[in-house]
Structures are given as structure tokens and as C-alpha cells.
């Protein structure tokens, strides 16, 4: 039992650390704000969540202590981190940060332009 739970906990913690590392590599390597934010908010959210799940299972299975604060932390990160990413992204778009030069689709700008034209008429 202890050996199996040690393997599960170790896998979860290493997976979380790996996902955080991949997210930070994505922030360094990707070309513009939007793709970087995409990597940071998605990768770091899942990474931190699996790290916290590993911590929770460690205290539950090895130490025999149910730590509900860590579970609340998992829920909290899952709710708030994507919203933070959305708000940063929207602030960047509203201050007219350009997309990567090879991007082909910008539906929100099209929608904004058509609304502007509609308001002028």
C-alpha cells in the first residue's frame, strides 16, 4: 500500500514540476504575448494542481492527515488562474499589442471593426 502510494505521489509531483518547466520554456520560446500567456496560464495551472494533489495525497496516505486546505487550494487555482490569464490577454488586446506577424485569423478585431462601422453609420 505504502509503496503504491509513494509511486503515485512521486509521479504526480514530478509531473507537476515537469508541466511547470514546460510552461516556463513556452513563455521563453513563443513569439507574442497571446501565445506566451496561453502557455503560462494553461501549463502552470495544471502543473500547480498536480503538485498540490501530490502534496494532499502525501499527507493523506503517508501521514494519515486529511488536509482540506490543499483541496481548497486546488479548486481555487483551477477557478482563478484561467480568469487571470483571460484578463491579462484582454488588457493586452485592448492596448493594441500586435499579434505574431504570421497569424492568419483575428475574429475579435473583425468584430470590433464592424461594430465601429455600424456605430458611425
Amino acid at each position: 500500500m505504502t509503496v503504491i502510494s509513494e509511486w503515485i505521489i512521486g509521479t504526480l509531483i514530478l509531473l507537476g514540476a515537469l508541466l511547470c518547466l514546460i510552461a516556463s520554456i513556452g513563455v521563453l520560446r513563443l513569439p507574442d504575448v497571446y501565445t506566451r500567456n496561453h502557455a503560462a496560464s494553461k501549463g502552470a495551472t495544471l502543473g500547480v494542481m498536480s503538485l498540490l494533489l501530490g502534496v494532499f495525497l502525501y499527507f493523506l496516505l503517508i501521514q494519515g492527515h486529511f488536509n482540506s486546505r490543499v483541496l481548497l487550494g486546488i479548486v481555487f487555482v483551477f477557478i482563478t488562474s484561467p480568469v487571470a490569464g483571460h484578463l491579462i490577454m484582454r488588457a493586452a488586446f485592448n492596448t493594441k499589442i500586435p499579434l505574431w506577424e504570421n497569424s492568419v485569423q483575428n475574429d475579435l478585431q473583425k468584430k470590433r471593426d464592424s461594430e465601429k462601422k455600424f456605430n458611425e453609420n
Binding site: 486546505r69 481548497l72 479548486v75 481555487f76 477557478i79 482563478t80 480568469v83 483571460h86 484578463l87 484582454r90 485592448n94
Partner: protein, 145 residues
């Protein structure tokens, strides 16, 4: 905050804040009561409560938040100081020095036998002062143009 002419749609932020506010607030109450035996207490609990209210201020404007929480935070700070002073003065009733605290098992109507420390009342004063002062500072800075 100065409004830009760009029409912003805050639906996602406002919906999430409605949920997250209660998580932060309940956690701050937990931190406040856990302060006697584990890390926490009045100061961190008060800061966390005021950060929950600041989150409401970020998502909604000052008038909406003032109508939801109709509290004069300066009076909260003053009441907190009075509570803290009162717990110190209450020790004179038992003929012991100022701010002497007692603790022991007390029978409460709903909870049954509970270990109650009178230092919790002093901590409640600290909590109210921290919430009152933080919110007064933030509202005073936020309202000036």
C-alpha cells in the same frame, strides 16, 4: 478609476468574483479562529477579509460595493480598538492585572463543550482594526481622481 471610451464586458470577472469572494471570506474566518493553535490569527484574517472586499471593488464599482456592504470602515476600526481595550479592562473585574487572559472549557448552547480563550476577543479587536484600516486606506486612495 478613469473610464476609457472602450466598452468593456466584465461578465467573466464578475461571475468568478461572486464565487471566489465567498471562498476567500470563509477561509479568512477559518484563519481567524485557527490562530490559537496553528498559524493564523486576527492580523492575517483581517488582511484576507479586506482582500476579498478589494476583489469585489476590482470587479464592481465603489457605489455597488458600498450598497452591498453598507459599513463605515472607519467606525469598524474604532469599534475594534474599543473591543481590544474592553478585553484588557475586563480583567480588572476579577482583580487581576491589565490584559490578563483566561481560557478553559465553556458549555455553549449549540456547540456543546468548547475550549474558549478570552484572547479570541482581543484577536477580534485586532481583526476589526485591520479590516477597518485597510479598507479605509484603499477606499480613500481609490476615490480620488
Amino acid at each position: 478609476m478613469k473610464r476609457t471610451n472602450l466598452k468593456t464586458n466584465d461578465l467573466i470577472l464578475q461571475t468568478v468574483v461572486k464565487v471566489v469572494f465567498f471562498i476567500i471570506f470563509i477561509y479568512s474566518v477559518y484563519i481567524f479562529f485557527a490562530g490559537h493553535y496553528t498559524p493564523g490569527g486576527g492580523f492575517v484574517g483581517g488582511l484576507m477579509t479586506s482582500s476579498a472586499i478589494v476583489l469585489l471593488l476590482l470587479a464592481y464599482d465603489v457605489k455597488t460595493v458600498a450598497s452591498v456592504i453598507p459599513v463605515n470602515f472607519l467606525k469598524v476600526a474604532a469599534a475594534g480598538l474599543l473591543v481590544a481595550l474592553g478585553t484588557g479592562l475586563a480583567s480588572f473585574l476579577y482583580g487581576v492585572p491589565f490584559l490578563t487572559h483566561a481560557h478553559g472549557p465553556v458549555h455553549l448552547p449549540v456547540f456543546g463543550e468548547v475550549e474558549v480563550a478570552s484572547a479570541t476577543a482581543f484577536d477580534l479587536g485586532v481583526y476589526m482594526v485591520v479590516v477597518g484600516v485597510t479598507m479605509t486606506i484603499i477606499q480613500t486612495i481609490g476615490e480620488t481622481e
